[in-house]
């Protein structure tokens, strides 16, 4: 049975739970492929490179969101990021605890307002380093 997103995803950045304001999210893990094909290969051959993590969120603009994201964009500080997704039977939690090269930075932040709509925001995070992945 499919799992609804609502109520099953939590995003916490710098100890601020952004989930009450998020309407959409995309969490990506992309593995680079490195071509190692040689003259003696029988076919195109690759090996796994580094994994790049990305998180995009968008939702309803609130002063709590603005306070959490806007001042921290480009300030050179990495913050702890926790993404927890309840897949039904189990919850997968990826945690980047800010330390050294590990952590998340606000890579982009946009807010907009249009008459007859509610004010909205969107943000992307530059995630550095490997997470601690927990399944419970």
């Amino acid at each position: 049975m499919a799992v609804k997103t609502r109520g099953n995803v939590t995003v916490t950045f710098n100890s601020v739970n952004l989930s009450p304001y998020i309407t959409d999210h995309t969490f990506t893990q992309e593995g680079e492929r490195i071509d190692i094909t040689t003259y003696t290969s029988t076919a195109n051959t690759t090996m796994a490179g580094d994994v790049t993590f990305g998180l995009e969120i968008s939702g309803i603009l609130d002063i709590a969101v603005d306070n959490a994201l806007a001042p921290n964009l480009g300030n050179g500080t990495k913050y702890t990021l926790v993404v927890a997704e309840d897949m039904g039977a189990q919850t997968v939690t990826n945690t980047w605890t800010a330390a050294g090269d590990v952590g998340a930075e606000v890579a982009s932040y946009s807010k907009n307002g249009a008459s007859k709509e509610n004010q909205k925001f969107s943000a992307t995070f530059a995630i550095s380093g490997a997470p601690v992945r927990g399944v419970a």
Binding site: I60, I63, L73, G76, E117, A126
Partner: protein
């Protein structure tokens, strides 16, 4: 709490004028992006990055409105600002239904785009775009309204930054209109560690004799409670202003 889109405000000005284009605008967007720089090294567990320089912009869309003089002002000043070296200060305010609403201010910018468009059966639109200039700085609105007497402003009497700043910042006063003649009118930006302002310190002084945007640099400590207080009307009957404060390490 969700906020209606109509609670946005767009202010634009130079040293000689300051206008509120809310009456002719129907959408507003602020975007800031930090370049992502790869710094992955040997033995790293996976890819690592650091944030690079930040770039940003303010984009506005609106209608040409038959009763609004702001149309002409926007069109004239936007058009002129594209080719004119006169620096502009542009502020995009969101969630204006709360007192200390966020205000992103583009310092020393110029308009990068102005577009008017329309079709035979549609409305004429007027759109503008401003790059970040010397930086898109996020501040909070301190006070907005018409000042007609000296003393500390009320409604709100102060805003709460939430923390003390120790590295200064900026403050802007958009003087949109003056009734009468002002000669060296002065408005103080004060901060204190208590809401009674029993030990208020003056962080900056806005002095003006005409409409326009006045920017002051803040230095050192700025306490968490900030207010606006008028020390001299300069002979004017009243003036319409909006004040914004940005504190390094706190609001940006």
């Amino acid at each position: 709490m969700a906020h209606k889109g109509k609670y946005c405000r767009l202010l634009m000005g130079s040293s000689t004028y300051a206008y509120d284009f809310s009456g002719v605008s129907n959408s507003l967007e602020v975007t800031r992006t930090a370049e992502r720089l790869d710094d992955t090294v040997f033995q790293a567990a996976t890819a690592t990055t650091i944030a690079g320089d930040v770039s940003g912009s303010i984009v506005q869309n609106g209608y040409a409105h038959i009763t609004e003089d702001e149309n002409t002002k926007l069109a004239v000043h936007l058009g002129a600002a594209i080719s004119d070296a006169t620096p502009l200060t542009v502020a995009a305010l969101f969630m204006t239904d709360i007192a200390a609403c966020p205000a992103d201010v583009a310092r020393n910018t110029n308009a990068s785009k102005m577009a008017t468009a329309g079709s035979a059966s549609g409305l004429m639109t007027l759109n503008g775009e401003w790059p970040q200039g010397e930086g898109l700085v996020r501040g909070l609105r301190v006070w907005s309204g018409t000042i007609s007497a000296t003393g500390a402003q009320t409604s709100p009497a102060y805003i709460d930054l939430g923390a003390v700043g120790t590295a200064g910042g900026y403050a802007w006063l958009f003087v949109r209109a003056i009734t009468g003649t002002a000669t060296n009118a002065s408005v103080l930006l004060q901060s204190d560690d208590n809401t009674g302002f029993t030990s208020a310190g003056t962080e900056g002084t806005f002095t003006f004799s005409s409409t326009g945007v006045v920017e002051v640099a803040l230095s050192g400590t700025v306490d968490r409670y900030v207010r606006l207080s008028t020390s001299s009307m300069g002979g004017a009957t009243n003036f319409a202003v909006t004040a914004i404060v940005a504190v390094s390490g706190v609001t940006y």
